[in-house]
Amino acid sequence: MTALTVPARPEHHAGLRPVPWRRMAWVTWRQHRAALGGVAAFLGAFAVYLWLSGLQMHHAEAAYCHPASSLSCAINFTGRYGETAIIVSIALQAVPALIGAFAGAPVLARELETGTFRYAWTQGIGRLRWTVGELVPLAVAVTAVAGTFTVLIGWYNQPWVAAGYVTPFSARVFDLLGFAFAAWTLAAFAIGVLAGMLIRRAVPAIAATLAAYAALAFATALWLREHYITPLVTHDPNLPGSAWIISHWYTGHDGKPLSQAAISQILRADHAATNKIGPNTFQTSVNVVGYLTQHGYTFWVSYQPGSRFWPFQWIEGGWLLALSVLLIAATVWLVRRRAA
């Protein structure tokens, strides 16, 4: 059968050389510059706010909180800005989740949703290089931006730590400081990327990312974190403010721990004691502790000393990094599996 003659064409070089990475970098940048710009704008606005608000707080702390326990400190610093600081901390907790969800989830989900993967994965570069070239630069960018932001957060929190209002270990700020903030952002991004690949639609993937991140963050703060290093145990009720108190309990003459009910009973049995301390006082107040120890009960407290802050940061940063790498690798593996 007649076939067309093929005019001379440049033949392929023996052994195709791969498409260079920097070209893929342009692709990623062009495709996601809107998202990256959005993240930058969002953080930028937040940063301006933190800067302005932080200046006020620094000024107030310097002026009124030396000594830290004075009444003027309580009025002009803690009382005035305390609520704001709490709200800001809570808002900051959401930042890694938002960045990760909105930067990570749409990367693959949009391709799958709009069908553009049929274009992207049939180009000469190949789907593997394309995926790695999309995910890695974004992951690095997101982490770097978050890391820079942490410095600002640390500066913002500094007066509160100096005034003894909050310890760096506390759940409210631990994951905003040191490595943790950047690591949590990276983890959120990785969760987002995998969710996007699995769910294949941008909006549900974002929702799933936020949910999964929230679950992980709560589980870590409420349970996992305190077990990184075995807590120290002591009888001393006067621990420095920098320590992170995990739990306390009393043991009776037999060495067995006492339940709350049993302790309440003991306290009420002695009217004198009750009158002194009141029925609802926290049991670690010195009165209670003093009373019970006088009566032969032993006070125990488990805690993490303040010096362990950085080791904990390393541990948390480390396992979050490992998790992120695992999730991104899983995503790349899924892409490679050619499920069309």
Partner: protein, 310 residues
């Protein structure tokens, strides 16, 4: 030029427990415009996805451009794919799409692509999402042809286009075939245009290949016999693909050559491509597979339903 642009052997793809494609054995020679035809759900998109590496086979294998595995870097380099609904990044301009394609491939003819878009009147700085359907299709095609592929694969490329846009699109495709010797594989619903456009035909039905071969060869070995309806049932000289009966008259589409003897009292006509495709589509059990890889001519004695060549 005897290289096979696409070769499959026993190719199959399963989604869950359903086989979208099975026992598909093809050898499509290069230098042709091959049309992939079949009803919805026949497996056309599945076959195309397997050929361009968007899906992995569940059974059998597929090689392209001679001997390269589908989806391998060499295959991706030489094949350009335009999927259904011509996917483009809607918020990127046409110029950005060119830049993107240039960056994602080893080889891209920027000048050709720009001049082509200029000829078509597609402004380079307009966002792809704001172009008309025909312009989007032409843009996607320009991106594909700019890669200077050896094989162009199109999945229902003209389904959503108006007649003028459709004509211009196919003119571009066929001109590329004429100028550069690009082989083309396209899936289509539009039977009426097949004869003008295709010189190789693959007919899929229910996930299996029903017909595969050069159009000239297929038309040469089918005839339409018209004769008395009463005698139609007794006709056994040649395999009957499809029969249509009136009260007194019947038409039989048979597998026979132009020189084959015609029963007395019967007329013989050549068959046109649309008629041939419709007849096979109506008879899912029939098949016409000349075993192209083996180079055998279609044996006229093959009864129906025909076996699938291995």
């Amino acid at each position: 030029m005897t290289m096979n642009i696409i070769e499959t052997s026993g190719l199959g793809k399963r989604y869950g427990s359903t086989w979208a494609l099975r026992e598909c054995t093809l050898a499509i020679p290069a230098g042709h415009v091959a049309a992939l035809v079949g009803p919805n759900g026949a497996g056309k998109t599945t076959l195309l996805n397997l050929a361009v590496g968007l899906a992995d086979p569940s059974a059998g294998g597929v090689t392209v451009l001679g001997d390269k595995p589908a989806g391998s870097p060499a295959a991706l380099d030489g094949i350009a794919f335009v999927a259904q609904d011509t996917p483009l990044y809607k918020n990127l301009s046409a110029a950005d799409m060119l830049h993107l394609t240039r960056n994602l491939n080893r080889r891209f003819d920027q000048r050709y692509a720009e001049s082509r878009l200029g000829e078509l009147g597609i402004p380079l700085n307009r966002k792809a999402g704001k172009l008309s359907g025909g312009q989007q299709a032409q843009l996607a095609l320009t991106l594909a042809l700019g890669r200077r592929p050896r094989l162009l694969v199109l999945d229902e490329p003209v389904a959503m286009l108006d007649p003028v846009a459709r004509h211009d699109f196919m003119a571009t495709v066929l001109t590329a075939a004429a100028d550069d010797g690009v082989s083309v594989l396209l899936s289509s619903h539009v039977l009426a245009e097949l004869e003008r456009v295709a010189d190789y035909l693959i007919l899929l039905s229910l996930g299996r290949v029903q017909v595969a071969g050069e159009v000239d060869g297929l038309l040469a070995c089918h005839r339409l016999l018209t004769g008395p309806a009463a005698e139609a049932d007794r006709y056994t000289e040649r395999p009957v693909v499809h029969a249509r009966r009136g009260q007194a008259q019947a038409h039989l589409l048979v597998r026979a050559g132009a020189d084959d003897p015609v029963p007395p009292g019967w007329e013989t006509h050549p068959v046109d491509l649309e008629e041939l495709v419709m007849a096979y589509l109506r008879e899912p059990g029939a098949a016409a597979l000349p075993g192209p890889a083996r180079g055998r001519a279609l044996p006229p004695e093959t009864g129906e339903p025909s076996e699938v060549t291995r």
